[in-house]
Amino acid sequence: MSDVEYTVKQFILKEFLPGEDPSELTSSTPLITGGILDSLATMKLVMFLEERYGVRFEAHEVDADHLDTVADIAKLVAIKKG
């Protein structure tokens, strides 16, 4: 698991899944389609990522096609960081 994946996972567990067993959240757990991130939560995650990694997300990227799993998110952040 990459550093970004680990960080994203910790953030999601803390913010949106308090009390959940960390091993239940894997890199491929569906987040948006799985009901863990609603639109508000997704926005919150994006703001966290932008601040933490100094990247910018386009409006069209903030959806289930781009951000549905921890692996997807980490991949997109990695691309943006170049």
Binding site: P18, E20, E24, L25, P30, G34, G35, I36, D38, S39
Partner: protein, 521 residues
Amino acid sequence: MATSAALHHYLIEAARRWPENTAVVDPGSGSLRYSELHRLSDRVRDRLRAMGVRSGDRVGLYLRKSTDGVASIYGALKSGAAYVPVDPGAPPSRNAFILQNCGVSALIVESRFVERLRAEHETLGPLPPMIVLESVGSGRGLSTALDALDRKGLAPPTDTIDAAPDALAYILYTSGSTGKPKGVMLSHDNAVSFVDWCSELLEPRTTDRFSSHAPFHFDLSILDIHVCIKHGATLVLIGEDVGKDPERLAQLIAAERISIWYSAPSILALLSQFGRLNELDLAPLRIVLFAGEVFPIKHLRALTRQLPGRRYVNLYGPTETNVCTWYEVKLPIPEDRLKPVAIGKSCSHLQCKVVDSEGETVRRGDEGELVVAGRGVMQGYWALPEQSARAFLAQAKERWYKTGDVVFEDDNADYVYLGRRDRMVKRRGYRVELGEIEAGLYRHPTVKEAAVVAVADEETGVKIKAFLSCREEKHPSLIEMKRFCAENLPTYMIPDTFSWQTALPKTSTDKVDYQRLKEMR
């Protein structure tokens, strides 16, 4: 001679027609025939009159459910008083408040409750005159208490009081928004019109055996007791412990050959899951009535499959009107049905309509608040004139009681319940009915009980919290529940938090205690 508009006339008439029929059974401790119940309640009447009770007074009942309690109810009514049953399991401070609030002029009480009540009354003033029972069960405790009082001085025989139709028959206290219980005042005509409507619906026979599952301070007991007595049938009292234990309860229904069952859906749901109904002979059971909350459709379907060929009737109504609409469930319930059954049509002694926030009748099919008028509608709340006035539609010629429930009328002219006005919240601009989320959660195979509350949240406006109990030892993960909800509910309905409990907290009437859930973290 009592008028036909008085509730106790049913007992007088039944005792004349069927003196030898069994009126009440206390399983495990005995039974009383109609002639005996009539005589015992006459003795209560005479004693209450001797204690100073007069027409229009209130008599408190602080007893566990028992034949003694039934005789006390009729004794109080025959004396011209309204009966005020309190929950023997409730804190004595609450009961002391109720008895003080409506100013009972006498109290029939079990000795086990007297000391703590006396302690409460130190600040409230003197206790009213009391008939104190050492025990209850099959009327012996009451009889013994009356004997003891007779030895000190006989109560002269009196006549049964003719109650006017608008005289109060009973006051039932429900939880009030201010935190203090409020007394719903119901007259003889309110009760008699309801009981007579029940006769139309159920066509009871003298051979019927009615369950008395609900406690006497709960409005379901009005049907149990008075419809049963009117028809010379047998009332089978079900104690609180057995009443909550599905396996023992199912055995009791079989052993007592209960033919007309009435309870909240929650216990029926437990019976269908844990009652081992298929191992029992429940042939006499012909009618199953339920009321008080929404029956989750999967449990109703399971029950009707285990016990086919019966009439299942959903009765709807607040304490203020007792039952005001009814719906007979059409069997079989399709496998793919997800919505609960309708609450149906108005009872024949009442009128219902759906109004908007201005009190104007909405178009058929539109949502609005259900309002009810007619003979069954309460007189008001005891000593709360402002709350009583607010309970009815303003500026209307008739007294339309506002139920606070949001419904619509479907294509079959049945009312469909959508939820409490106060259980609807706006979330992300959508109107969310918390009951709909509960119905969604119930579809998860391991969910045994589900309750959802909305609490104010600084960040998002409203936070939706789900409380669940599980059928299995290991409950599903949060992620699994969220995924399940995402597949079954719109996103804006997915709860923010899920909390697993061994069992959900219940009120004294065995409904989910939402107030306590709201206070839980």
